[in-house]
Amino acid sequence: MRAAMVALSLVVAGAASADEAFITNQNGDDLTVLDLATGKTVATIPIGGKPAGVAVSADGARVYVTSPEGKALTVVDAAGRTVLDRISLEGGPLGVAVHPGGSPVYVADWYAKHILVVDPVARAVTARVDVGASPSGLAVTPDGATLLSADRDSDQVSFVDLKTLHRVATVPVGQRPFGVTIDRDGRRAYTANVGSNDVSVIDIASRKVVGVVKVGERPYVVGLAADRAFVSNQYAESVSVFDVTTLQTLATVPVGEYPEGVEASADQTKIYVANWFSNAVSVIDVATLKVENTLDVGDGPRAFGAFIRPTPRQAKP
């Protein structure tokens, strides 16, 4: 009876979160594709050039991977699990985001003070947008109007108008913001500030910081699910969880060593955390705030960006 109930709940859980994760393994030079329903690796795709950044397109068809050492943007066919193209870029391509319409792709140059705008079909850099120093994390608002860049060494977030491709504002945040995450409504953005061990909460419409939340040491990025923010603390080997309305800390969840990339499942019931030193992804239950599973991946997972792909079954129920 008990076994049957467990089996039933597994089936239900599987159906509820049938996503896939595309994990960039920087030291291993490849991309692990995890089936999140089973927790199994279903493909390992060679990338090269020390892959770090990742961005799944809104329709789930493409995965864009940056290789800062190899100076390239790799285009992956998500369903086919094959490399479609490798576009040579300049500098140190790191943070990456895709326009909600599927193109262009925005790539932060870690060594320069600009963002590259890449047309993945024409295989061309079509523009360079000036921002602050060492742009790191990138995120586009859901309406496709604005790009946010965490300018790590300028302690600010740049707002870029995606029609004109000009920076329209800078918002000072904590020290050394690395990841930047926009909520599903496009209302707020969150930066993980590596230097000041906190998260800046930005109101996007007014372009103002409306809150600062202390987290653990060396925060990397913020993941959002069900009105909760999950912050990976690299040195603390933990994920700080806070309520996005009250900004009160709810829990500190121990995970693996050097937790980095964080993202929620499409249904917002699970949070996935890539642990760089441990070569594993921690699965946190959003309701209980407990690690419920740990999945093996390749060497040195960073998964910096949007790495979860809702499967077609879930995208079109």
Partner: protein
């Protein structure tokens, strides 16, 4: 003396690898371990004091403050005069593990930046394993590093340092010194 056991005059250039300073795009990692024929408690008496790194061959002197409390600091003076400044970030005598960070080192002494490390002792009876792991970026913060400040150079230097340190601990403990 360089940290990686090479002879060198005290470096003239001032290097600084402060917290979260600019660094390359690819963090490196390494794990080295050694088995020691002694009880974990005995091994811990040799390496468990953050204020005494005399078990690491290039270290001539350890000076610091804060004992084994979190945020304690130490300055290692190496043979030849170069110094390395470090900070304790975690310490747990029960599990015989601690973690620390380099807060200041010249890349000519150790070609790394943003270096952090864990060391632990595990074992049963009269057998122990010491595991030392490090995470760090190469010495050169930009693209296209010169060979002596490349990812490979960083990993080689740290591996050699760890291997020499672990061999020294084993020798000290097994000789009972």
């Amino acid at each position: 003396m360089k940290f990686q056991l090479l002879a060198a005059a005290a470096a003239l250039l001032v290097g600084f690898a402060g917290a979260a300073e600019a660094h390359g795009p690819t963090r490196q990692k390494t794990t080295q371990s050694i088995e020691i024929n002694a009880a974990p408690d005995k091994v811990w008496t040799v390496i468990g004091n953050f204020q005494d790194m005399s078990w690491l061959p290039p270290v001539e002197k350890t000076e610091g403050s804060g004992g084994n409390d979190k945020d304690a600091t130490r300055t290692l003076t190496l043979k030849g005069g170069a110094t390395v400044k470090e900070q304790l970030t975690k310490y747990d005598a029960d599990t015989k593990t601690y973690a620390y960070r380099i807060t200041e080192v010249d890349v000519k002494v150790l070609p790394v930046t943003n270096y952090s490390s864990h060391i632990s002792v595990k074992g049963e009876g009269d057998k122990s394993t010491v595991t030392w792991q490090g995470a760090f970026y190469r010495g050169f913060p930009n693209n296209d590093p010169p060979p002596e400040l490349s990812d490979e150079a960083a990993i080689k230097a740290v591996n050699e340092l760890y291997q020499a340190g672990l061999a020294s601990v084993k020798e000290k403990v097994e000789k009972g010194s």
